[in-house]
């Protein structure tokens, strides 16, 4: 992530913030978004959220790809709610009638989900898992869970490379995934092989770590301290979240 961050000038440098503040901030954003009850206030927040992604240096393409993924999940709900929720007719499309409460409900869900997704993408996107682990440990997450996270984060890249090698081997043998039993069996052997290799590697890692006197405890090296930048960001965010909630309660 850091490469891109250095190349383009970015107005809001989230990577300069204390990671703990980023975690608290994203939670505050999501809870604030969920507590707004008026669809108009939420709709007003959408351009603000999109502008913020720009300020943080996220490309439009990354944002769209992320939102498209969310839309996939929501399509079913968003299409069905206007048709299935009983209430006054809002519009008719041939044989289909869209009910007013249904449309309202669907647009609320769509706005909330998209805004929350934008908040998570903006505030957590590009956060290195190691920093996440250390910040969570300092926020009081159990040590075992933190270790599990740190180890997993370390190995995701490694096993993606291993999976890519197996995938190369498959394609070198002219394998094309299709809807067939052969594809599923191949995928199963692929997964099984990945598990076997991982298991053998895990045993070696385990022995190597025991040889180096690993007792199940990592030294947590974290030197992050909140500074002036964090204070300004926190104040700005508090204002930015309080305003829509206030407007929502007053109208």
């Amino acid at each position: 992530m850091s490469d891109a961050a250095f190349e383009t000038p970015v107005a809001l440098r989230l990577d300069r913030l204390d990671t703990r503040l980023r975690l608290v901030a994203v939670l505050a954003c999501v809870i604030a978004i969920l507590s707004v009850r008026s669809p108009w206030v939420l709709a007003g927040l959408l351009p603000v959220a999109l502008a913020t992604t720009g300020l943080c240096g996220l490309g439009a393409r990354a944002v769209l790809a992320r939102l498209a993924h969310v839309e996939g999940f929501l399509l079913v709900l968003a299409l069905l709610l206007p048709l299935t929720v009983p209430g006054e007719t809002w519009a008719t499309l041939g044989p289909l009638t869209l009910s007013e409460p249904g449309v309202e409900r669907a647009s609320m869900v769509l706005l909330r989900v998209n805004l929350c997704a934008l908040a998570v993408l903006t505030l957590l996107g590009g956060l290195e898992p190691v920093r996440l682990g250390h910040a969570l440990a300092r926020l009081g997450m159990p040590r075992k869970l933190v270790h599990l996270l740190l180890f997993s984060a370390r190995w995701v890249a490694l096993f993606r490379a291993e999976a890519a090698r197996l995938d190369d081997a498959l394609r070198a043998r002219a394998f094309r995934p299709r809807t067939s039993l052969h594809t599923l069996r191949t995928l199963a052997h692929f997964t099984g092989q990945l598990l076997v290799r991982a298991f053998e590697r895990a045993e070696r890692v385990d022995e190597a770590m025991r040889c180096r006197a690993f007792s199940g405890r990592f030294a947590m090296v974290a030197d992050e301290r909140p500074g002036g930048y964090d204070a300004i960001f926190a104040a700005g965010l508090a204002f930015g979240l309080a305003l829509p909630i206030l407007v929502d309660r007053l109208i």
């Binding site: 969310v70 709900l77 956060l127 270790h147 984060a153 995701v156 069996r185 199963a188 997964t191 590697r201």
Partner: protein, 208 residues
């Protein structure tokens, strides 16, 4: 599909899900020996990586959950493993919900763990086709369990979702079928190639 994003569920459901997930995490962590963490993490990572691959189904494609297989291999430790996987997904790829993390952990991990534990006891002594059938059955039922949990979370959140649930439920059927076949083959493969992977928990005594 099993990941419910932020903004869909109601607050009581989110809190209930988080409480259940915390209970499950506590249980899973208690059974997780500190020296066993690297091994659990490596296996958890594989499930995470394997689920990134898209399986073509007709004109569309689906991603595997592999929750049944996780339950079989990791037992109750699958709960912290799923939690870590979902957290990493949120950070590395930017998807999944934060407030719905608890509900998502319950939806995905709980059915897998319960069926995995049942399947493990049945797998003792089974071989070949029998092992494949047990693995496949556990995987299909885990996906159906996940569909049930997702539907329940939606139904408890708002009565407006009720009419949509049938269609949401239907989208899980192809996944259940694909998971059953893949997991069946994986279990048969492991029985033949490396049964130690399936016997992971025997060392420490009875699985939960």
């Amino acid at each position: 599909m099993a990941h419910i994003p932020d903004g869909v569920l109601s607050a009581p459901v989110l809190i209930g899900g988080a409480a259940l997930a915390l209970g499950g995490l506590a249980l899973g962590l208690r059974r997780l020996d500190e020296a066993d963490i690297p091994k659990t993490a490596i296996l958890a990572t594989v499930f995470f990586v394997a689920s990134l691959f898209a399986v073509p189904v007709g004109p569309s494609s689906i991603h595997l959950l592999l929750s049944g297989l996780m339950g079989i291999v990791l037992g109750t430790r699958a709960i912290p493993a799923v939690f870590v996987g979902l957290l990493l997904q949120a950070v590395l790829f930017g998807f999944g919900g934060l407030t719905s993390l608890g509900v998502d952990v319950v939806d995905i991990a709980f059915p897998g763990v319960i069926l995995g534990v049942v399947a493990r006891s049945l797998l003792r002594g089974a071989s070949g086709a029998g092992a494949a059938a047990i693995g496949g059955g556990a995987a299909a039922l885990s996906v159906i369990g996940t569909a049930g949990c997702v539907s329940l979370a939606l139904a408890l959140s708002s009565a407006d979702y009720l009419p949509s649930l049938k269609i949401v439920g239907l989208t899980y059927l192809p996944l259940a079928a694909v998971e059953a076949i893949v997991t069946g083959f994986v279990v048969a493969f492991l029985v033949r190639v490396k049964p130690e992977v399936l016997a992971l928990e025997d060392r420490e005594g009875e699985p939960a």
